[in-house]
């Protein structure tokens, strides 16, 4: 594909594309296992009830 798709200019600065390291199979398994240990609902510290968007609690 690189043979077909070619840019028509050279960048002034070197562009480094950072790709996230793909999680290992073990990490993925661990995250899936961890997810199932999670709570039923979320908890937000120092919050009670938000009645409207004015943020009154």
């Amino acid at each position: 594909m690189d043979e077909v798709l070619k840019g028509n200019f050279t960048t002034k600065h070197k562009v480094e594309v950072q790709t996230a390291k793909a999680p290992s199979l073990e990490e993925r398994f661990e995250m899936e296992a961890l997810k199932k240990l999670g709570g039923s609902m979320a908890f937000v510290s120092k919050k009670k009830v938000m009645w409207d968007l004015k943020g009154k609690e």
């Binding site: 995250m31 296992a33 039923s40 979320a42 009670k48 968007l53």
Partner: protein, 347 residues
């Protein structure tokens, strides 16, 4: 994550990451359920209307949760016979215990978005032996052992809800599954909708704020679980000055096999069957002079409710007479004392 094998070490590490783990577990599903319910929400009532009603007499509320102390202490008869007239607020898992002890809750609360499990607390019209065989979640647990006779109990729940449904109010969370939403509508419950908070609504790009903009429902900090949500509704929606909890163990009795705990299969998947001591955390209750143990989720729930009680204007009484919910400004109180001295029940 490092491989920690010391007793409770992995459990504590999981608690430290529980906000992220919980979001991964329930965030997408809860929001999806809210969208599915949007048309019903727009036609229905919200918990704002509860603030305009007198729910239970006076300024007390009693949350009857569904922890193991409900079976061990059996507070139902004492509550029913006490003449207690304050608000009785019950999570979905406590409905059967209350109704079979002749306690008609003033408010039921449901929140967990699980697609198939939660509707069973209301009686599942679609329950079959095949589905039971596929999920041993209730069969294993030290919650309501009668659920071991599952199909019969399910029929009983269907009858109870059909009988009492029109007398029951429910704070129905927008995260509830379509099965629960359908069941409570068909059973004729008086429905008041609410949103759970998924994140801090004051933060940029808050999912909670977007949800409010979509359906207009008040957003409640549910404290990680439906029992704590009951407490929050009592304290901040019904504005009760004295909120007691019963059956709020957040733990298991020391003689409970790991197999009978809520997250057993998940714990084994993560740590292995020979390393379960690293996940479960043992805690001594000085009020009872006894040890209990808990898993990361319930330990987190306890910490969350302690935090919430610490921020509240109401007084919080733990009348469970077991478990690990003590400390902070929680008043560890025998149930009889709450009923008689604080709520003024006269039998």
């Amino acid at each position: 994550m490092t491989n920690k094998t010391a007793p409770g070490a992995l459990g504590h590490e999981i608690v430290a990451n529980m906000v992220k783990i919980t979001r991964a577990r329930i965030g997408a599903l809860g929001l999806q359920n809210a969208r599915r319910s949007l048309s019903l929400i727009r036609q229905g009532k919200s918990i704002v209307e509860l603030t305009q009603q007198q729910i239970g007499e006076g300024d007390t509320a009693l949350v009857i949760a569904a922890g193991p102390s409900i079976k061990r202490r059996n507070p139902g008869p004492a509550i029913a016979e006490s003449g207690y007239a304050g608000a009785v607020i019950v999570p979905d898992g406590g409905i059967r215990y209350c109704l079979t002890n002749h306690i008609v809750p003033d408010l039921i609360v449901t929140a967990d978005p699980h697609e198939t499990r939660i509707v069973r607390w209301f009686g599942d019209p679609e329950l079959t032996m095949e589905r039971l065989a596929a999920d041993d979640y209730y069969r294993r647990q030290d919650m309501d052992s009668a659920f071991a006779d599952e199909l019969r109990v399910n029929d009983e729940m269907l009858e109870l809800l059909d009988k009492y449904g029109s007398r029951l109010k429910i704070a129905l969370c927008s995260s509830a599954s379509p099965a629960v939403v359908k069941r409570v509508h068909e059973a004729g419950l008086d429905i008041y909708w609410w949103n759970p908070m998924y994140d801090d609504p004051d933060q940029a790009d808050s999912a909670t704020r977007r949800l409010f903009e979509e359906n207009g429902l008040p957003c409640v900090n549910a404290g990680g679980n439906v029992g704590s949500a009951c407490w929050m509704l009592a304290a901040e929606v019904l504005r009760k000055a004295h909120v007691a909890v019963s059956g709020m163990d957040f733990s298991y009795y020391a003689d409970t096999p790991y197999y009978n705990t809520q997250y057993y299969h998940e714990a084994v998947a993560l740590a292995g069957v020979d390393n379960l001591d690293s996940i479960y955390v043992k805690i001594f209750n000085p009020h009872e002079g006894a040890w209990f143990y808990t898993d990361p989720a319930y330990l987190w729930y306890r910490d969350c409710l302690l935090d919430m009680a610490g921020e509240a204007e109401c007084r919080t009484y733990n009348c469970t007479e077991g478990g690990i919910f003590f400390g902070g400004n929680v008043e560890y109180t025998p149930l009889a004392r709450f009923l008689l001295d604080i709520a003024g029940a006269r039998g």
